[in-house]
């Protein structure tokens, strides 16, 4: 088990990053910090999927004149490129909502907002 984890230490790093993001979302009270935690979780997923496509001694999948196999898999990179843009979109919308909440209620602390109801 430990040897398998050590072989896949790149994936373990993603798991650690994911848990950090999860901790921030649960434990922090400030809404902006919660969305930062969400972004850290997204980064963990992105790094995990990109790491899946890596191959030992792989080169970028650009078929120039001096390209040499083996190539890193292009599919995870392409999927994550679109995923990053969707992450930016959700973050932008979330921050807009935070701005509106602050204008309406004067606070972005989750527990104070809960008391107001």
């Amino acid at each position: 088990m430990l040897a398998a984890l050590w072989n896949n230490v790149d994936y373990v790093a993603s798991v650690v990053l994911f848990l950090i993001g999860l901790y921030i979302i649960i434990a922090k009270n400030n809404l902006i910090k919660k969305f930062l935690g969400l972004n850290i979780m997204e980064t963990a997923i992105f790094s995990f999927i990109v790491a899946l496509g890596v191959i030992d001694r792989g080169t970028p999948p650009v078929m120039g004149p001096d390209a040499q196999p083996p190539y890193t898999s292009p599919v995870p990179q392409a999927l994550i490129l679109t995923g990053i843009v969707v992450a930016v979109s959700t973050t932008a919308l979330a921050l807009s909502l935070v701005i509106r909440i602050y204008q309406q209620r004067g606070t972005i602390e989750a527990d104070e907002l809960r008391e107001m109801e």
């Binding site: 994936y11 994911f18 848990l19 078929m63 969707v86 921050l95």
Partner: protein
């Protein structure tokens, strides 16, 4: 008490993740499913079929073009939703008070360096955008660099320096440039090949295939940069 509960939850979440990660094939292995199925096919036939040397661009714009088409619509929708959330308050504020905010004072060094680097950043963004088919890069990356330049300029030089661009009559068209370029090229491809976003394969129509990739890249880059700049300006104005 709460902290202990959170840590217990994290441990419970960590166990299945770590077990799953330990069961994956070793990192960097050449025989994993990621490397053997579609990836191998794309790497083998990509240059011939998609006419782009960079296979990542081939996957994004050609093999999975319809996916990317939906995805540029998502970022435009995010802009529209952000407008819908923020505009009513901004309009009320604008009606209530004439503009009184001035750009905060900025250090001379920051001002000088930003002014010095701005043209080079813009040139690099254009290079990344237009060279995406034959080297690492592409519309999204170039658009992000250009959008970052707009954000830096509006922080350092003041928002009113970028405003002429965002208020110009072309601005709405530039914001929707990415979906528009995609749909236009999709219909163009449909006229040539019979399929939406079909890239012609014949040797005689090679120019059309390359032009379609280039136009989509420029559309994504310009549209993405405008959307980033607009989102930033909209939030800064609050």
């Amino acid at each position: 008490m709460k902290k202990a509960l959170v840590i217990a939850l994290l441990i419970i979440a960590a166990i299945p993740l770590l077990i799953g990660v330990a069961a994956l094939p070793p990192h960097g292995d050449a025989d994993t499913p990621v490397q053997t199925h579609v990836s191998a096919r794309y790497l083998e036939k990509g240059v011939e079929e998609a006419r782009t040397v960079n296979i990542v661009t081939a996957v994004i714009l050609n093999y999975r073009g319809i996916d990317t088409n939906g995805e540029v619509t998502v970022i435009f929708t995010a802009l529209a939703a952000s407008f819908a959330v923020l505009l009513p308050a901004a309009m009320a504020r604008r009606a209530a008070s004439a503009e009184s905010d001035e750009a905060p004072p900025v250090s001379m060094v920051v001002l000088f360096v930003t002014r010095l680097l701005a043209p080079f950043i813009a040139l690099f963004a254009l290079y990344v955008m237009l060279h995406g088919h034959s080297s690492p890069g592409g519309g999204f990356q170039g658009g992000a660099i250009l959008g970052g330049l707009f954000v830096a300029l509006s922080i350092v030089l003041g928002a009113e320096k970028v405003e002429p661009l965002l208020k110009s009559p072309f601005a709405p068209w530039l914001r929707i440039a990415a979906p528009l370029a995609f749909v236009a090229m999709g219909v163009f491809g449909a006229l040539l090949t019979g399929f939406y976003l079909g890239f012609p394969q014949q040797e005689a129509l090679r120019w059309a295939s390359e032009a379609m990739v280039l136009i989509i890249e420029i559309g994504i880059g310009v549209g993405g940069a405008m959307i980033f700049a607009t989102l930033f300006a909209e939030m800064e104005a609050q």
